[in-house]
Point group: C2
Chain length 216, copies 2
């Protein structure tokens, strides 16, 4: 494993590969070539080989990659062997939805707390064993429960403050849904999901149909 700087784009693609490998494993496939894999997405096969080569030599020349092998490797690389414990901050519609989102790997990501500052929301049951707590207890909760990921679904106006709170409590990874650029301190990582930007880029596309946007 090289100690090179690895692009976030590469990491995102590893997730995509892993998902695909899971499907291939379910389908009983033993091996897969970078070419076959590339065919599933709009990718060049060299891209896939390069991405994987950052982390080791996982393939076999003339054969391809052993599905199960590579799957296990990617799980390791992405840090999905260890369980991550997450909280949702902001118990609005989006917070509820994420607390109940079934798409997260339950082995890897557990949402074990949801917080809000609105007294009217505190105590509400989001699902079995999960009810809204006051942000007052957020800091202690993070420490006591070993939370390592915070998902922010608070309004933009509150995001910076909540972000400072969770990072000061030791959280180093934040998934931010507030439409604001958070300034991550050294050692912390923010991923922002900005739905307005997504919709507005679609709007641009609709308004400028002649212009070809790069496909994703």
């Amino acid at each position: 494993m090289k100690t090179e700087k690895i692009s976030e784009l590469t990491i995102n693609r590893l997730s995509v590969y892993l998902r695909c490998l899971n499907e291939l494993a379910d389908a009983g496939e033993q091996t897969v070539s970078s070419k076959t894999l590339a065919g599933r997405f709009n990718l060049n096969s060299a891209q896939i080989r390069k991405d994987l080569a950052y982390f080791g030599e996982f393939g076999v020349r003339g054969v391809g990659y052993y599905v199960e092998d590579l799957r296990v490797q990617l799980i390791k690389i992405l840090g999905l062997v260890t369980e991550h414990r997450a909280v949702v901050v902001g118990a609005g519609n989006m917070g509820y939805a994420l607390a109940n989102y079934s798409g997260f790997k339950p082995r890897s990501f557990l949402i074990i707390g949801i917080f809000d500052s609105d007294p009217a929301k505190i105590g509400r049951v989001v699902r079995d064993g999960l009810r809204v707590m006051s942000v007052e207890y957020l800091k202690d909760f993070i420490r006591e429960e070993g939370i390592d990921i915070a998902i922010l679904t608070v309004p933009a106006s509150a995001a910076e403050e909540v972000f400072a709170l969770v990072t000061s409590a030791g959280v180093r990874a934040v998934l931010n849904f507030a439409p604001i650029q958070l300034h991550a301190p050294e050692g912390a990582k923010v991923r922002t999901v900005d739905l307005s930007i997504s919709l507005e880029s679609l709007s641009y596309f609709l308004a400028n149909p002649s212009v070809e946007l790069a496909t994703e």
Copy 2:
């Protein structure tokens, strides 16, 4: 306005600039320089000037950009003058949340229908004037109501089929939350929001703290 190919990255940044200009306008600022603007994000001022220069010469040398002017220009460029009419397909938690999401510009994006295939969900009131309809009526609804954006919150297994349905009905812009790569036909545009990828990239970061990921 040049007929050059414009990167999606540029378009995304235009959204960011617009948001910032709205704030500046609210704060009563008359002008802003690319340098000031750049300071708000982690951007180079030349980047901002280049992004804007694709669409015209909006600045004044020695002065900067007139906030209100540029704001209006960006609204035009992003196609936000015309109202977009959207449907949500998939009335799960995420669908509900998006149908009620307050972060979308209400002048530009209207969610006027929500659909599901589950009979148990059909008829449920999502909010005032919006109740879940059967996907059976989706195609007709899109045509009759002039829907131009579809937001998919269906399971991955159903996404391709629903996608084919909405595009065949004339929708050319899709915001996809299903964890699957949709194959967009010529003339249609998909933006996928993949929450698992986001979380897994955070997991990678947590598992490899030494490795520096490019900041976003």
